[in-house]
């Protein structure tokens, strides 16, 4: 039996959720530890030292958001939160507090796996991302600041490039509107989502095979954007 890919701590008060997560993660080669509330989650964190934390926000004893805050005080372990429908504010709050990604219940395992992989990869790599990012026929070379598609250079304005860079550096993970705006336009523009709309639209026009049905640069409704890191199934 090969070594586990990573150790995952799943925190959810519903036994059925824990059961199917454990079964699937185990089948994918992950080692699984469980907790059913916030306090025991924090304890298991210190004892087991997992590589990634999958955390349900609706916990009985304390707010999932508080767990994130506590954990982030001494650990930068990747955190993926599980939330209910129509709780965008919670999602954004969680991401702001340091969570890496989110999933809306009910979700498919494929999505969870993809996000766990992305989260792990980003932690494994140093803050400096891999210099070259490939997706489909698109190649982004962060060192040379060069973007090509089907081998041909794609001309991007500085803002467009910055936007792409932020997404590439977080490839596979969601980036909130706020985060993008802060990084690309500065803290004074946190409310100017219209900038994002326009620039994302332009990027899609230049990079997507079918700009009207994007498959790489995805909108996360109410939260932000996500650049896929592999071709969709």
């Amino acid at each position: 039996m090969s070594a586990p890919l990573a150790r995952v701590l799943i925190v959810d008060d519903e036994p059925q959720i824990r059961r199917f997560l454990r079964t699937s993660l185990d089948a994918h080669g992950y080692e699984v530890v469980e907790a059913e509330d916030g306090q025991s989650a924090i304890k298991r964190m210190t004892v087991e030292k997992p590589d990634v934390l999958v955390l349900d926000l609706g916990l009985p004893d304390m707010e999932g958001l508080d767990v994130i805050k506590r954990v982030r005080e001494w650990s930068d372990v990747p955190i993926i939160v599980l939330t209910a429908r129509n709780r965008e504010a919670d999602k954004i709050e969680a991401l702001d507090r340091g969570a890496d990604d989110y999933l809306t219940k009910p979700f498919g395992m494929g999505e969870l796996m993809a996000r766990i992989r992305a989260a792990l990869r980003h932690r494994v790599q140093a803050k400096g991302a891999a210099p070259v990012f490939k997706l489909g026929t698109i190649v982004v070379d962060l060192v040379k600041r060069l973007v090509t598609r089907d081998g041909e250079e794609v001309k991007l304005s500085p803002r467009e490039y910055d936007l792409l860079r932020v997404l590439v550096q977080n490839a596979g993970r969601v980036v909130t509107h706020q985060q993008i705006l802060k990084e690309v336009w500065g803290p004074a523009h946190l409310d100017d989502t219209q900038y994002l709309r326009v620039y994302v639209g332009q990027l899609r026009q230049k990079l997507e095979p079918d700009p009207e049905q994007p498959k790489y640069l995805m909108t996360e409704p109410g939260v932000g954007y996500r650049l896929r890191e592999d071709e969709p199934a």
Partner: protein, 638 residues
């Protein structure tokens, strides 16, 4: 009749045609009776009410009726009669004028318009009422004397006294005891003076004369007593008939009242009019008695009255003034009792406080109270029935809804459970393909269930007003593209065409909610569009609006249903097959679109007699500040 109707219209008042049925009318021939019936029918046709009053005192009956029913005008026709007849017997008009108090009398003579006579104008003949019978008796005796004189030659003397006897009888019957005694004395005197020899002298010579005088007097007394008794009986009978008529009218009025409030007012008004009193009606409300109807209008009762009313209610017996219980209260309270129990309390306060109700009046009041009780109970039952019917309808609707929702929840669950249990069963070995099919079913049905639950939740939030619309600048192409990504699998087999005008303004919407709208519309298209057909999504600008359309090539929507499909739980009735789904999607779309200040409509057919197009219109808002133009060397270093 017509003049009365004109007057009533002018005064904007109700009017009633009254027919006083006097004893002599029973002997009218058919032609006359027909004329009377015809007149009454005409009155009803002209919009008045009719009433028949039994009685012998024509003006008295008319005035009594008028007064108890608060009539203010009487319209009457006057026949032309010679003056001397007027002298002997005053006409109806004069009697009315004399005895009416504050009722205006309008007199119609012949073809002329009615002249209004005010009560102050006295009639032509001024008479002292009390003297009239005596004068008439005198006249009768005089007439008898004249007749006797005429037949003196042909008849024996003693027989002439019969003629005077007739006069005495006449006086006894017409005017009672004392006028008849007066007539008998007068007759005896005249007989003696003019007929008994020696004539022109008052001598009582023979015993026959004494005898005839005595007989006159005895006859006078007996006859007048008899007549008096008859009259009393007749009056008693008339009074009973009046009472019965009044009660009959009362019950008719009650039966005609459409609502409880109308009923209570009718009861109060008519009892007040009949009894010359103030009336209040109390019904139970929240465990206490409250005034629900009154005439004249009244809101509150004093504490003594409250106590009496409460006692009457609690014990089902009269209480208050004139009764054995709490006689200090100003009103008499009678419980409204039926076979089922007490439904309320009626309070009555006579205008002339001192006079207690005489037995006749008390019987009438009791009869009215009984009728009122039955009417109130009937009104209550009607109300209960109506409420029960509404409840039944609501229940029916609710249970239909529940069964529809239950069906839409259970169907996907059936698929999931069925597939999962199949896979778990040890009896069968499934091929990989079969296993995959079953698992796909599980996944698809679970997703369908998820969508349905989402719709239910959205509906609930929309209804309860808990919907929070977070609007932010959104690109339509982004919205369409993202939504298509989520529904693609359900639209498999259909071609999807996107036609978005370039350069459309940004719209300020809640991305997730609008995604829901488009998703529902596309789901609908997916359900109804046959495989191989095209589903189009179009967006364009039209003046001050942005228009987004979802068009399918399915069977379309019948014209009558184009608005109704946006109703909650509405499904187009289709004979061939029932499309799955509880019919929430479009009503949610409408709710969400309208929450953004937009409109959504349906159009069908679209082309070739088929298809349906759903159009969303949103007002274009002033665009936000455009991003600053590109600046050189503005990129951050990683």
């Amino acid at each position: 009749m017509r003049a009365a109707r004109r007057l009533a219209d002018m005064l904007d008042a109700r009017w009633t045609a009254a027919y006083v049925e006097m004893p002599r009318h029973y002997r009218l021939d058919d032609a006359a009776k027909d004329r009377i019936a015809g007149a009454l029918r005409l009155a009803e046709q002209l919009g008045g009410e009719t009433v028949t009053l039994p009685g012998s005192d024509l003006p008295g009956e008319l005035l009594r009726y008028a007064q108890t029913h608060n009539m203010t005008q009487i319209v009457i026709g006057k026949a032309q009669r010679p003056r001397w007849v007027e002298f002997c017997r005053p006409s109806l008009v004069h009697e009315l004028l004399r005895r009416s108090q504050n009722i205006a009398i309008h007199v119609l003579t012949g073809e002329t318009e009615p002249e209004t006579a005010t009560p102050e104008r006295r009639p032509l003949l001024r008479r002292h009422p009390a003297a009239q019978p005596y004068i008439s008796s005198t006249a009768a005796v005089v007439v008898a004397g004249l007749v006797a004189k005429l037949v003196e030659e042909y008849v024996e003397l003693p027989n002439l006294s019969m003629i005077f006897l007739s006069a005495v009888l006449f006086a006894a019957v017409s005017w009672g005891l004392w006028p008849s005694i007066f007539a008998s004395l007068l007759s005896a005197t005249v007989y003696n003076f003019f007929f008994i020899p020696p004539i022109y002298t008052f001598t009582i010579a023979t015993p026959e004369e004494v005898l005839s005088l005595c007989i006159f007097i005895v006859v006078a007394i007996l006859t007048s007593q008899l007549a008096g008794r008859l009259r009393t009986y007749a009056e008693g009978a008339q009074r009973r008939v009046r009472t019965t008529t009044a009660l009959f009218e009362f019950s008719r009025k009650l039966a005609a009242s459409p609502t409880l409030d109308n009923l209570l007012w009718a009861i109060s008004f008519h009892v007040a009019a009949a009894m010359q009193a103030k009336v209040v009606i109390l019904l139970p409300e929240d465990g206490m008695l409250a005034i629900k109807g009154s005439y004249p209008p009244e809101d509150t009762l004093g504490p003594a009255e409250q106590g009496a009313a409460q006692w009457a209610w609690d014990h089902g017996e009269p209480a208050g003034r004139y009764s054995a219980t709490l006689p200090n209260a100003e009103m008499l309270f009678l419980p409204l009792k039926t076979g089922q129990g007490t439904v309320g309390v009626l309070g009555i306060q006579r205008e002339k406080q001192e006079t207690a109700l005489d037995p006749g009046e008390r019987r009438m009041l009791d009869a009215m109270v009984d009728q009122a009780a039955v009417a109130v109970e009937r009104a209550n039952l009607n109300e209960e029935m109506r409420a029960a019917r509404v409840l039944a309808e609501t229940e029916k609707l609710r249970s239909a809804l529940l069964s529809s929702i239950s069906h839409d929840l259970r169907t996907p669950l059936a698929g999931i459970l069925g597939s999962a249990s199949s896979l778990l069963s040890n009896d069968v070995r499934f091929s990989d393909q079969a296993r995959r099919d079953l698992l796909l079913t599980v996944q698809e049905e679970a997703e369908r269930l998820n969508r349905f639950v989402g719709n239910l939740l959205d509906m609930t939030r929309l209804e309860s007003g808990a919907l929070q619309v977070k609007r932010d600048w959104t690109e339509i192409a982004d919205l369409v593209g993202t939504t298509l990504g989520t529904v693609r699998s359900r639209l498999a087999g259909r071609e999807i065409r996107i036609d978005i005008e370039p350069g459309l303004p940004l719209i300020r919407v809640d991305f997730l909610l609008f995604q829901q709208v488009l998703s529902n519309l596309l789901d609908n298209a997916g359900k109804y569009a046959p495989a191989g057909s095209t589903v189009s999504v179009r967006a364009r600008r039209e003046d001050a609006e942005v228009v987004i359309e979802v068009i399918d090539e399915g069977p379309g929507v019948p014209p009558d249903d184009l608005e109704r499909i946006f109703d909650k739980f509405y499904r187009v009735k289709r004979l061939d097959r029932q499309i799955a789904g509880t019919g929430l999607g479009l009503s949610i779309c409408r709710g969400l679109v309208e929450a953004h200040g937009g409109r959504i409509t349906a159009r069908s057919p679209v082309s070739g007699g088929r298809g349906a197009a759903f159009t969303i219109r949103l007002p274009v808002e002033p665009q936000p500040e455009t991003p600053p133009a590109r600046t050189t060397a503005a990129a951050d270093t990683p």
